[in-house]
């Protein structure tokens, strides 16, 4: 198939439909509105249902109900809206339900702003909801990667019976890039024999639930979830290691920030200085091994984020005290300037070279 030029939010919606999404529940919030708008127009043409909910809270609970009834379902929102959905996401995880949540991140805290940001790292990787739950969190860096992940996301959710989050900063949602819709590698998906479709007199009632009043039952429920999360760590951790053969310094960044870092790397190459990049494609599971595998040539790690420093905590855990860690971040919708990153790299390499 030939490439098409599409706006990010619309490309995400189209990829979701091609990935088998049949139900969408959402509430308007900038900068992701083109996504539900596209869904409202296109999903019914594919035998699906779009419904604009009365709130983010209602939308995520509609997702819960739909997932429990066997629907391939998603919602999308942006940072403050995702904060409102966190309780529902915890319930979805607690009840072992598959669903896809798209977060087109804007600056916070509070109402914040509507410009691109990466300040939702903690809210998407640490859960905003209660309890010991995890979900795969994808952070693509360009539209092609975004649509590839969207087309696979519903299978991943069904495979693990778990929510999956796909995160783009506001730039991913608003930019246009040429993309190609490619079918993902098929997974063998388990039969949904647990869904509430009416007993039809043929089986015992199915119950969708996250309540366990017996302490030992709840602990066992959590231990089973941990086994599932261990499988996700093993199978779903994704990372790009870029120019990592013999770097003097390693940059680490995700999403569109990683593209700025690649420009920085190209600048240093002109001077004969090799700078590497570890680009997490999943931030949960976090690609710890990539950091363990950093060659001896590296003198340090520079974390670059569109926040005041959130992923840096995971980098510190992965680094485990081995290398010095520097940080450069902009927030509130301000984009990191390559020149500032270059200055910071020179500083970490021990002055101007």
């Amino acid at each position: 198939m030939s490439k098409v030029l599409m706006k990010g939010n619309e490309a995400i919606a189209e990829a979701a439909i091609r990935g088998g999404c049949k139900f969408f529940f959402g509430y308007p919030i900038t900068p992701q509105n083109e996504l539900p708008e596209y869904m409202s127009r296109e999903l019914p043409k594919h035998g699906g249902v779009f419904l604009q909910a009365e709130s983010e809270v209602a939308a995520i609970n509609m997702v819960y109900g739909a997932a429990g009834a066997g629907g391939r379902v998603m919602t999308s929102s942006s940072s403050p809206g995702i904060a409102l959905k966190q309780e529902g996401i915890s319930y979805i995880a607690g009840a072992n339900l598959p669903a896809v949540i798209v977060n087109i991140v804007r600056g916070g805290p509070g109402l914040g702003g509507i410009q691109p940001a990466q300040s939702d790292y903690n809210q998407v990787t640490r859960g905003g909801g209660d309890g010991d739950y995890k979900m795969p969190v994808f952070v693509p860096a360009n539209l092609q990667e975004m649509v590839d992940i969207m087309m696979e996301a519903f299978d991943i959710a069904d495979y693990y019976r778990n929510p999956v989050m796909v995160v783009g900063d506001g730039m991913i949602g608003q930019m246009m890039e040429p993309i190609e819709f490619k079918k993902p590698v098929p997974r063998e998906l388990p039969v949904k024999d647990w869904i509430t479709t009416g007993t039809k007199g043929e089986r015992k009632p199915n119950i969708i639930n996250s309540l366990f009043l017996e302490a030992s039952d709840l602990e066992n429920h959590n231990l089973e979830a941990q086994e599932k999360y261990a499988e996700m760590v093993k199978n779903e951790t994704r990372v790009e290691n870029y120019n990592m053969e013999k770097p003097e310094l390693v940059l680490t960044a995700y999403g569109t920030t990683s593209r700025i870092c690649k420009n920085v790397i190209a600048e240093f190459k002109k001077e004969g200085i090799e700078i590497g990049l570890i680009r997490p494609i999943t931030v949960w599971p976090f690609p710890h091994k990539a950091f363990e595998d950093i060659p001896e040539s590296a003198k340090g790690i520079l974390v670059v984020e569109m926040s005041q420093g959130q992923m840096i905590d995971d980098v510190k855990i992965a680094n485990n005290g081995r290398l010095p860690i520097g940080f450069h971040g902009r927030s509130g919708g301000m984009i990191p300037d390559p020149q500032d990153i270059i200055l910071k790299v020179r500083e970490m390499l021990g002055g101007v070279k």
């Binding site: 049949k22 139900f23 529940f25 249902v49 419904l51 909910a53 009365e54 709130s55 809270v57 209602a58 939308a59 609970n61 509609m62 997702v63 819960y64 109900g65 739909a66 997932a67 429990g68 009834a69 066997g70 629907g71 379902v73 309780e87 529902g88 319930y91 009840a95 509430t196 479709t197 009416g198 007993t199 039809k200 007199g201 009632p205 199915n206 119950i207 969708i208 639930n209 996250s210 309540l211």
Partner: protein, 248 residues
């Protein structure tokens, strides 16, 4: 010997956790009987949220979803939109429906969502230990209104049935009570009509059931029934507020 009374097939054999004298058990029985009599038990999905109804998923002999506090109407919307041929219903208390979940209940009515809601109004939070509900009466003592609820501090109790009846998509709205055998029969009739409305595909139906909470009212079961008649019925009049026939 002929069996003249039997437990409904719509209920499981799990022992109910409700306190002695509480009317939840009666309402559970009525819902179960209606589902069986309409022959829809096997294609029905109930949604039980948070409160004394939280464990209802163990009591009804059909597919069930447990929902977060107040969100049962949203969860039911998700189920019904995926599978419109299912009979989907919620069973919610007054803390759930009239306080934390007001947005959700108003908007299922607003959309005319083809689901049925059974609303238990016992003028108090039962499960959490007797705190004030939006339906708590003026002067009523609760653990958070220890000298009695006042209008100045908390306003007047919400009349959900009357309020929902103003919304076009709510095609069947009735308030009933289960304090006497006669009223229990009337309540069952209303619940049946609310489910028949769903089967007709005309819109949203809700039955508000005045109920007792002897434990948190600190009254005997019998005195509770009398307290309901003396105090709740004058403020929450029984009757129908909306039938689909009105719109035809």
């Amino acid at each position: 010997m002929a069996i003249v009374y039997d437990k409904s097939k719509g209920l499981t054999d799990v022992e109910l956790h409700f306190c002695p004298g509480c009317t939840h058990g009666t309402v559970h029985k009525l819902v179960a009987e209606v589902l069986v009599e309409l022959d829809v038990l096997e294609k029905s999905v109930g949604v039980a949220p948070v409160g004394c109804s939280a464990l209802s998923y163990d009591y009804f002999n059909c597919d069930m979803q447990q929902a977060s506090h107040g969100r049962a109407p949203a969860v039911a919307t998700g189920i019904k939109r995926v599978n419109p041929e299912l009979v989907v219903w919620t069973y919610q208390g007054d803390g759930d429906l009239a306080s934390i979940g007001t947005a959700e209940i108003i908007h299922v009515a607003h959309r005319g969502e083809k689901i049925t809601t059974i609303f238990i109004n016992n003028a108090i939070y039962g499960m959490t230990g007797g705190q004030m509900a939006p339906t708590t009466l003026i002067g009523q003592k609760t653990t958070t209104t220890q000298d009695g609820r006042t209008v100045e501090h908390s306003g007047k109790p919400l009349k959900m049935a009357e309020m929902l009846a103003t919304i076009d998509g709510a095609k069947f709205v009735e308030r009933v009570s289960v304090d006497t055998p006669t009223n229990i029969r009337k309540a069952k009739k209303a619940i049946r009509k609310a489910f028949e409305l769903q089967l007709s595909g005309k819109g949203f139906g809700i039955v508000e059931v005045l109920s007792t909470c002897p434990t948190n009212w600190a009254l005997t079961p019998r005195d509770s029934l009398q307290w309901l008649r003396d105090n709740m019925m004058p403020y929450y009049p029984l009757g129908n507020f909306r039938t689909p026939e009105e719109d035809e």
